[in-house]
Structures are given as C-alpha cells and as structure tokens.
Symmetry: C2
Subunit: 293 residues, 2 copies
C-alpha cells in the first residue's frame, strides 16, 4: 500500500505557484489577488477564510476579505459582488458558503462574473466543464485530479466507482474521470442512496472515490484487492487518545481498507490539503487569463 | 417484449402542446414563436429546419427561418443572434449546426441568451442541468426521459449503462438518469471507446442507452434478459428490399436484441420522433417563462 500524501503534494504545488508568482512579479509587477466575501461570524467559515488568506500569503498572492454582518441584505451583497467584478485589481472572488437563510446562495454566486469565479460554482463554469471547454473546476474535484495525476495513477480504461452525487464532488468527478483526456478515460459508475447491492458495485472498482459524508462507511469487504481509494470525507469524532479530545476520520475505514488498497488517501492529510491549493491554482489561472483569454 | 413507440408518444405530446397553445391563444393572444438560423444549403440541414418549421405549424407555433449564404461572416451571424435575442416576439432560437468551418460554433451558441436557448446547448443551460437547476435540456436526452416516463419504466435503483459520452447525448443522459428525482435515481455507468470488457458491463444493465454511432454495434450477447434498450443511433444502409434503395438501422441489432429486451425503441420511430417534440416542449416553456421566470 502507498499513501497518497496530500499534504506533501499540496506543499509541492504551493512552491511551484510561489515560483510562478515571483516570476510574474519580477516581469509584470502585478500579483494574483483573491478576494473573499464572508457573512456573519460562523467560526468554521472564519477558519476557512483565514486559512485561504494565509495560503495566499504563503505563495505571494494578495488577498482581501470583505466582511458583512449576518443581517446584510441580498441587495448589499450583490452590490459588493458587482464592485469586485469591476475591480481590475482582483482576479478571483469566492463567497464563503453557506450564506444566512434570507439570502439566495445561487443568486449571489451567479452574480460573480464567470471570469472571476475561481470556486467554479457558476453555471457557466459548471457547463463549460461538462462539455469539456476550459473552465474553473471546483476545489475538491480539481484537487483529486491533481492527486491522481501526481501519483501517476493510471485511469484509462479503469473501472472507477464514485460514491456520492453531490454538485461539488460526485458529479464533477464523474465528468472528469470519464472525459476523453488523461487523467480520465475511465469507465465511471456513480452510486448514491438509491443504489442497490452497493458493496457489489464498489467491489468492482479499480478506483474508488468516496464522498458520501458518512463516517467510516466503506469497509474492507466493499473494496477490491489493489484498488486505489480516495476518501473525501472528514468527520470529527470524540477520542480519549488526543489532547484535543477528538480526532478526524473519513468516509473510509482506513485501518482495514488500507490493507487491501494499492493507494489510499489518509484523513487528515489526503484530499483536504488539496482544496485550498486548488483555489490558488484557479486564482493563478484567473490572473493569467488562462480560461477566458 | 414491448415496443416503445416514439412516433405515437410524439404525436400524443404534440396534441397536448397544440391544446395548450390554443388555450394560450384564447387567453393571451400571443403564441410561442421558434426562430431558426440556417447557414448555407446543406440538404440535411434544410430537411431538419423544414421539419422543425412543419412541426411548429402542426402545434400552432409561429416559426421563422433566418437564412444566410455559406460565406456569411461570424460578425454578421452574431449580429443576427443579437437581433433575435432582443426581439420580444421570439421565444426560442436554434442555430442549425454544423456551421461553416470559418465560424466558431461555440461563439455563436454562447451569444444566444440562455432564456431563448431552447436547444439547451449554452453552457449556462448545461451547467444548470448539471447542478439540478431548472434548464432547457437538449432535445435527445429530453426526448429519452419522456419516453421512459410515459412508458412508466422504473428507473429508481436500476443499473443504467450508457454507451457513449457525447455532449449532446451520453453526458446529459448520465446526469439525468442519476439525479435525485424520478425518472432518475439509477446507478449509472458511462462507457466509451476506452472501456474494457464492454460486453460484461452492458450485460449488467437493467436499462441500456446506446448512443455510440456505430451501426448494429450492440448484439444480443451484450444485453441482459429483460433489459430496457434505448437506441439513439440512426444509420442509412443500402437495401434491395425498399423502393428508396436504403433502410434505416440503429446502433442496436434490433432483430436479436428485441428478443431479450423487455422494452426496446425501434429505428426509425423510437428516439428520432421525440427530438423535434422536445424542441417544441422547450419552446413552449420559453414562451411561458417557466425556466428563467
């Protein structure tokens, strides 16, 4: 079994980006700039936005956070998006989700110009990805594709089974893994809550991507000997063995599945560290106008 | 075996639409209006555009065809699209593809406002379909979903195998069949030219959707007893048994596969007649502003 070390791979990519930023800075002066909109004071959202800002700093990006109170109106948020859309200094904009209940998430996201939508959530970017045009691919699927590519895992002609059909992981992963390009060219099956004989389906997978949001759902008997296992889940469970009183686990029962897998991502330190890095990659693309010219 | 009679189902839908149009006419005066842009004199394109216009007439829609010579410039076409975008009389616009080589198909399609893109080819509509928002679904997948629904074929929890990963059939079918809605909720596998052990995969299908573009590619040994088989292919082959000197066949070897299938679409008269009807359905939705409000 080989561990797919997302933390290490993420570090490598950050260094590559930092080098590129230095080069851009020397030659053109302007560095990539990521803006975030943060509404309210949800601690998890604060943490995410702060780590994104820290990651920007690490690679030499500019970053800014636009903070709004929890009772901000939808109109005010749309205005802020509009303002950032029109600011030539800013290359990428993310809106930290979820927004408060009185605000229409989709309306705000669709207000971001696709050129700055580095989260890849705008229907134009989703649609372009679906039909194979250049687009911003959202952070998790983009990160998984990088892990697969940089671990030199062959995907062509392989049976790939994806557990979960969410908009942010399952669906884009199925499109990316079955596209006529490599990594890709796999025979992809998408499973979900209505799938019957699930263990039978997952046992056929050469590559198993698990994004089902249930702690340690995938057990060894569901996995083929030698399979590549990508675990997207992350759950906090109580533990008396750690100082913090909790530990992190994934959607896969790591101890037993890792004994059968040829490659596996740990939790933490697998897919997780790749998401912020993906966002940096998209922001770099935005600043270089690689997607929309 | 039960034949899925696309011709009959298409007729039924046309009558439903005609009834609805009559009601709209009586109550509001304005009838749905479909416009088509046709470039050059390709006989197949002429035929398609003419049958669309005829179908419009049948159900009481207005229709118009904007014809351009083969040497029309891209700028002129974009201007025409713009003009139709802004015409409040016109509800839906299709651009007959392919366009001549000097014109960028995607650029022209992306110039249509998503609200009038009744072919469902604009990235905004593709993206909205992908993430499960209301959208215009393109003609063939929309037609297949209608066939499945109106034949009361159960899809929930079924194994669905799709042969082909094209933007206009395979990809949207995979998204629609696996969505959390019915028809849908199937466990979907997408196969393509790089798929290994294809016959083994197709033999597992409760529902087999074939859009691979190869005459009589699917033979009885590739199909499970009792499967539902949807044949999207259409090919013209020489025949000494018809007056015209040719006959139409699909991607499925109908004679032998029909003996194993529980339901099967014939060629011609299966999926084919549904495509124009889907376009009418989308145009009706456009005139009622059902998708974009």
């Amino acid at each position: 079994m080989r561990l797919i070390d997302g933390k290490q791979i993420a570090e490598t990519i950050k260094q590559e980006i930092a080098g590129e930023v230095q080069r851009i800075k020397d030659q053109e002066g302007k560095v990539p700039h990521l803006a975030a909109i943060l509404v309210g004071e949800d601690p998890a959202s604060e943490t995410y936005v702060n780590s994104k800002a820290r990651a920007c700093k690490q690679v030499g990006f500019d970053s800014s956070t636009y903070r709004f109170p929890v009772d901000v109106t939808e109109a005010e948020l749309l205005e802020a998006v509009e303002f950032i859309n029109n600011d030539p200094e800013i290359d990428g904009l993310i809106v930290q989700l979820p927004l408060p209940g009185h605000i229409d998430n989709q309306k705000v996201i669709q207000h971001i110009v696709p050129e700055k939508d580095v989260d890849g959530f705008h229907p134009v970017n989703v649609g372009r990805m679906t039909i194979g045009l250049p687009s911003y691919v959202s952070a998790t699927p983009n990160g998984i594709m990088e892990l697969i590519m940089r671990s030199r895992i062959e995907t062509r002609g392989k049976q790939c089974v994806i557990l979960g059909r969410s908009n942010i992981v399952g669906k884009p992963m199925s499109l990316l893994m079955s596209r006529n390009e490599e990594p890709g060219n796999a025979t992809v099956t998408v499973c979900h809550s209505k799938t019957q004989n699930l263990g039978e389906v997952t046992s056929r997978a050469d590559i198993l991507i698990v994004a089902i949001g249930q702690p340690e759902f995938v057990t060894a008997d569901m996995v083929k000997e030698g399979a590549v296992v990508i675990d997207v889940g992350i759950h906090r469970v109580p533990s008396d063995k750690t100082k913090s009183g909790f530990r992190l686990i994934g959607d896969v029962r790591f101890d037993e599945v890792s004994e059968k897998a040829s490659y596996i991502t740990p939790v933490p330190g697998g897919v997780g560290p790749m998401t912020i890095v993906s966002l940096l990659m998209n922001t770099l693309k935005a600043s270089k106008k690689e997607i929309y010219g």
